[in-house]
């Protein structure tokens, strides 16, 4: 059976997330999962099942995530997973879009006096393993013909400890992760993230190959969140807008016009529910990782195309 039917039958979405990365996916003191990736899962659950709490979060490590998805243990993987050719083609997964344009960066203590990653010749580098980080790192240093000593570490907490104790000169992972980590430091101001971004890391939710119906639902839920920001639909006004507006695109998005929901195999209000959960893309971003949060990420590449960013939702028609 298709994944959609499974999810409906189960009445629960199983969503693979990180084991704990502040801002993206981590349980809070009450054990509630919070974060940017988590919000995407909740939106999908709301769209499909009508209830954003009908999600089961399954924490995965870099090692277990692909098996979990391939074997059907999870329906969608919303964990900072880079969209690469081989994952898409060879591992038979389907990336449904990009929810965060990331790139691998370096964090160093300010007093190290380094201002560019190219000055890191001979440095000891702590790497959080489990994504494409090791490969990018190797490529970057080789391309610049400088040497380094990698220290691959499994979890963020151990990597932090190494980095803070000075056992590594620099800590590298996706820039978003760096920011999230820095946010938890005692004195975040004493550390800087270097300007070089050594890789393209388009992160996005992915599903199994071959279930196009389910892939569409995930893809268009994400697009709905993005489009909602572009169209000015927010969690505050979505109820009001869903009674009908002059903008046909909004109407189609919120289901007051056309039969987009039906085409997806859902009802008409799917997108409305998704947006209601925690708002549009911009709201989710601001709430979890935006400049006002401890993580403190600027929108940068993740701004709407209209604002000079890369976010560009295909038209809803």
């Amino acid at each position: 059976a298709g994944t959609l039917d499974d999810v409906k039958a189960r009445d629960k979405l199983q969503c693979g997330v990180n084991t704990g990365l502040v801002g993206f996916a981590s349980p809070d003191a009450n054990g509630e999962w919070q974060g940017f990736d988590v919000a995407v899962c909740r939106a999908i659950a709301a769209a499909v099942l009508g209830d954003s709490s009908k999600v089961e979060f399954i924490s995965t490590t870099g090692k277990t995530r692909f098996t979990a998805l391939a074997s059907g243990e999870i329906d969608v993987l919303a964990r900072n997973t880079t969209w690469t050719f081989s994952r898409d083609v060879d591992l038979k997964f389907e990336f449904t879009g990009v929810n965060y344009y990331d790139g691998q960066g370096f964090m160093v203590p300010k007093d190290l006096g380094v201002s560019s990653a190219k000055e890191l010749d001979g440095a000891t580098v702590c790497i959080q393993t489990g994504t494409t980080t090791e490969l990018n790192l190797a490529d970057f240093f080789r391309a610049n013909n400088i040497s380094y000593e990698p220290v691959p570490i499994e979890t963020d907490s151990e990597a932090q400890q190494q980095y803070l104790a000075g056992a590594c000169d620099t800590y590298t992972t996706d820039a978003s992760g760096l920011a999230a980590t820095r946010a938890t430091f005692d004195d975040p101001g004493a550390h800087v993230v270097l300007p070089e971004i050594v890789s393209k890391e388009p992160l996005g939710p992915l599903v199994r190959h071959g279930d196009a119906e389910w892939g569409d639902i995930v893809r268009w839920t994400l697009n709905a969140l993005i489009a909602a920001e572009e169209l000015g639909v927010t969690s505050a006004n979505v109820a009001e807008l869903s009674s009908g507006t002059g903008n046909p695109e909004i109407n189609r998005l919120l289901g007051t016009e056309g039969t987009l929901g039906e085409m997806l195999g859902l009802d008409a209000e799917w997108a409305k529910r998704a947006i209601m959960v925690s708002g549009n893309y911009g709201e989710i971003f601001a709430k979890n990782i935006g400049v006002d949060t401890p993580v403190g990420l600027a929108r940068g590449l993740n701004a709407q195309w209209t604002e000079g960013g890369l976010l560009y939702a295909p038209p809803f028609r």
Partner: protein, 410 residues
């Protein structure tokens, strides 16, 4: 057997499959075989359908592809352009390296603690008991993490060596203990006889081998002398001479010099580096397993009855001789079999290297390679095959040993 010459008189009946001792075991084995075959078939067909559904296949071709990642601790040439297979090899060697080192130190810890635990000194024996109990009763994973954390937190970072107000300094200007590892001087030859460093080292090794045979000859001579005259000649000086004179001459001829580690850039450069993860894992495994070995050693020595020591003492043997000639040879028979299984445990526990970032085979083949290629089944199978080979080889050796030292009884 003669059953063949004396065929069953009654004809075969179906009930005999269960009632006749001759067929019964065949029946049961057939049933068991069928059940096992069925479950293997079931699991296998599940695997195949699952793989097919996911569009995957089982293939080890990825082994030749470039790995693309770097490894900081390696015993053979390796770069990020080497293949996944080579990365696995580097990991395998690293596993063997840390296991080998830890086996040695764990034995030392264990023997010292085990012997001290039997000491007449109350405080020492109690301290050793505390050591044994504390380490045995807390998971090795927690120990590895704690020791790694202590190491990074307590040892100075290379940064601390820098500048005028350096808070740390090198020992004798030769050794640097940092939280990234320990740097020690590296010997090299200034006017070697061979162009390549390897050639010169081979020469040194050849010298050492020569010394070894020389020392053996001296010992043999001493033993022969003892057999003939009863007195064992003093061999300390000749032994020292035969070990050190050729070595010193060789060093002089080759022009031995030391490359000292020095702080350059971010790190110490030069000398030999023993990485922090290696040290932490090595130390954690040895001190944890040492606690178990201590118990074995104690049990082994205690297994030699008091009567043996008394009999030897009554014959006039001195305590050190009693230990060497009577107690140890007997205790070793008790100690060695569990010791070997502790060595295997060290090898297996070294797979926890991933929590300290040491690149053993679980971290390379079962970690980064698995991550990058997503070939879970292949990687895990190979990983298990590696450990299985190591332990089977060890137990094979073990069985030979056991058979050879078994006490002769009637």
């Amino acid at each position: 057997m003669s059953t063949l010459t004396d065929p069953p008189k009654d004809n075969f009946r179906l009930s005999m499959l269960f009632n006749d001792t001759r067929y019964r075991s065949l029946t049961f084995q057939a049933i068991a075989a069928i059940l096992v075959a069925l479950s293997i078939f079931y699991l296998g067909s599940n695997l195949l359908t699952n793989l097919e559904e996911a569009g995957l296949n089982i293939s080890f071709a990825f082994f030749q592809n470039p790995a693309g990642y770097d490894i900081n601790q390696r015993l053979v040439e390796y770069s990020s352009q080497s293949s996944h297979g080579r990365a696995a090899l580097v990991g395998a060697l690293n596993t063997l390296l840390v296991a080998f080192l830890a086996c040695i130190t764990a034995t030392i810890f264990g023997v010292v603690a085990g012997v001290l635990r039997l000491s007449k000194n109350w405080l020492i024996s109690k301290l050793m008991a505390v050591y044994v109990e504390i380490f045995r009763n807390i998971p090795v994973l927690i120990w590895i993490i704690i020791i790694f954390t202590i190491m990074t937190a307590v040892m100075p970072a290379p940064r601390a060596f820098r500048g005028d107000d350096a808070t740390a300094s090198m020992l004798l200007d030769m050794f640097a203990f940092t939280n990234r590892g320990v740097y020690i001087p590296m010997p090299y030859f200034e006017h070697g006889l061979f162009a390549s460093a390897q050639g010169n080292w081979l020469l040194v090794i050849a010298g050492l081998i020569g010394s070894f045979f020389g020392a053996r000859a001296i010992n043999r001579w001493a033993a022969a002398k003892q057999e003939a005259t009863g007195e064992r000649p003093k061999t300390l000086l000749p032994l020292l001479a035969v070990w050190f004179v050729p070595l010193i001459v060789l060093m002089f001829v080759l022009g031995l010099a030391w490359e000292l580690p020095a702080l350059k850039g971010f790190n110490f450069k030069g000398g030999i580096k023993v990485g922090g993860p290696l040290i932490a894992l090595w130390f954690a495994l040895s001190i944890y397993t040492g606690a178990f070995i201590a118990e074995n050693v104690r049990a082994g020595i205690q297994a030699v009855s008091k009567g043996q020591t008394e009999a030897a003492a009554a014959l006039g043997l001195r305590p050190s001789r009693v230990m060497n000639l009577v107690v140890l040879p007997q205790a070793l028979r008790v100690i060695i079999p569990p010791l070997i299984s502790h060595y295997l445990n060290i090898t297996k526990n070294s797979s926890l290297a991933i929590v300290v970032g040491y690149a053993d085979i679980t971290a390379t083949l079962g970690g980064i390679t698995l991550n990058q290629t997503g070939r879970a089944i292949e990687c895990v199978l190979l990983l298990m095959a590696f450990y299985l080979t190591v332990s089977l080889v060890t137990s094979l050796v073990m069985n030979f040993y056991n058979a050879s030292v078994k006490l002769k009884e009637r």
